[in-house]
């Protein structure tokens, strides 16, 4: 019975079925499954999708479809983790978002999905995120990594603003910062004082591991 739910959840993610994923997550809670096991099952599924994407067997719409399905189940499981007080193991906690003035979400979503697949705990703040919102999330979640995206040349300097703000509030040394997006280059990343940059989503995952030494 339990395995059936976990297997179903894994399948729902791999078949990009939001509704089914959400329903099965609810059932998992009803059946009092260990929420950490449920989370593991979903992570395995998303990792399989991520690997297939890396091999070239799957494409972007598949990756995002799987992420959406996982996203549909996630709040239910997180609520359960909180309620039961279970301790969640992860590689690290990531706060991610596209900077203020920029509404491009694709690259950021890819990175978040692959980071989740890798075993990071990812808080995706979405698009058009102001500096203060990033800071608040970093404090709230006690994040290890901040990942920022900017697609447009006009909005790239916004990343610098966030870093300045972190310095001002004495948070800069407590967190690793990675940046990406169409408008960002290696030089720019160095110039604004980020810890790392990578042009590709799979590369960003390797970078995240490197930054936290795991």
């Amino acid at each position: 019975m339990n395995n059936e739910i976990l297997e179903g959840l894994r399948k729902a993610i791999k078949e990009y079925d939001n509704e089914k994923a959400e329903n099965l997550a609810k059932r998992a809670v009803e059946e009092k499954l260990d929420p950490l096991r449920v989370l593991d099952a979903m992570t395995v599924a998303i990792r399989e999708v991520g690997d297939a994407f890396g091999r070239g067997d799957l494409w972007l719409p598949d990756l995002v479809g799987a992420a959406d399905a996982m996203q549909a189940a996630m709040p239910i499981i997180e609520e359960e983790i909180k309620r039961t007080g279970a301790k969640r193991e992860s590689l690290g906690t990531v706060v991610a978002g596209t900077v203020f003035g920029d509404i491009h979400s694709i690259g950021k979503t890819m990175v978040c999905t692959l980071l989740t697949a890798e075993g990071f705990k990812v808080h995706d703040l979405g698009v058009n995120i102001k500096a203060e919102e990033f800071l608040q999330a970093i404090r709230n979640y006690n994040a290890d990594i901040l990942a920022m995206s900017a697609l447009m040349t006009m909005t790239a300097p916004e990343q610098k603003k966030v870093i300045e703000q972190l310095k001002k509030e004495g948070l800069r040394d407590k967190i690793k910062i990675m940046v990406g997006g169409g408008a960002i280059t290696e030089e720019f990343a160095k110039e604004i004082g980020a810890d790392g940059y990578d042009p590709t989503a799979p590369g960003a995952v390797k970078l995240a591991r490197k930054l936290i030494g795991r």
């Binding site: 972007l60 719409p61 006009m154």
Partner: protein, 502 residues
Amino acid sequence: MLKGFTRNFKPLEILSEEEIEAIHRGTLSVLRKTGVRFESKKALKLFEKNGCQVDYTDNRVRFPEGLVEECLQKCPSSFRVKARNPKNDMIWGGDTVYFQALSGTGSVDLDTWEPKTPTRKEYYDAITCLDALPNVHIIPWYTPWFGFKNIPPVMAMPEGLAARLRNSSKFTCSNYSMGCEVFNIQMAKAVGAEIRSSMAASPPLTFYEDAVENAFRTVEAGFILLITSGSVYGGTSPATIVGSLISGNAEIIAGIVLAQLIKPGTRIIVQDFSFPQNMRSGSPAFGAIEISLHQVAFNQIWRRYRVPIDGGVSYPGSKKIDYQAGYEKAITALIGALSGTNTIWIQGAMYGELAFHPVLAIIDDDMVGMIGRFLRGILVNDETMALDLIDEVGPIPGYYLNKEHTRKWWKLEQFIPKVADRLTYPEWLKEGKKDCLSLAKEKYQEILSTHKVDPPLTRSQEEEIERILKEAREYYRKKGMITDVEWKAYMKDLESPNYPYA
């Protein structure tokens, strides 16, 4: 007036009447049921006053069909646009085809093929080159590049327009960013030119306030408004090309309604700057064939609406001036021209929206000449069929090279490219194995050393431009949109002894 090219045969079509009708009805249904979001109080009020259903909680506007049809009819189907020099005026619409340069954020190094920021001199020289090329009819905004070294981003657009007005008398354009359209409009008026400015949708189905504000300003100034949508299908519009067309057309038509409500009869040209999504990287798939399918269908629909069409945006996916860039640019521009795009973007653009080079503009100009020659078609009459001549020459050993008919007609029939390699192998070896790229580099130097803008700005026009630029600089400095570091570098650039020329 600039004649451009005229298509002497029926445009290429890929949709049936019924299919066009289905797309049209779908568009109306999206406008009526789903609606379009306008982040502008001013626009929302105007729509409400004219019978649209406006929801102020999510800024959604829903359009009644009657109003849509009425506003489409108010768009002139063809119109004249005025350049600084009347010899460069154009008539857009119908079967006319004009070509415009296509910009990139920065320049590119022709050895490493990596992008780089141009200098003021390079910026001015590139405009001179575009002014000299016979098949560049329009020099749009941001052309050649988004800016140059030492100018703050916020001043890129006004400085760019000033540079184009100084170095070219061809029709040019401007756009909006941080309210700079106010200065741009003043500059155009100061030199007696019209400009085209734009109102760009943010797909899906959204217009932000800056775009709307620019539409008000452009229409009120009596200039031409380009209404554009630019989605990635599978990202910000449906993955199907016809679905993407509907979503894009709903945005464009919403823009048309606004423009015609502001001032009926406003000259409008429409564009859908959409790309498929590269499903590996998520970026737009530049140079893809679906762009051409999209353009043909778009042209078919908008020909029915009788609104002039802009498009055929020829960005290659390749990073180099190479085989791939050649075929990608060729197919996009050619399909646009065959299917009824009135103003086609092509000369100079390299990868994506990121690079431009004047040397490539020279090579592209040959391709445009070929397309233009094709559009003229074939003349069939007694003289061209040449039956008497064929009878006179007869079989082998007869030949045509020495005939009067050949001397007259070959020049009328053949288009001769300027920088294409047309040599035989022995000639080519003897000449040092030059390719089109090295021939274009030579041509570029020749243009820079001989071409003069006709006419140059008068002294009082130049003073007026400089006054407006000064006003803009101070305005943005005061607003804190130019930092101290930027300001210092900028002022140093202005002190150059050759200013404004590099």
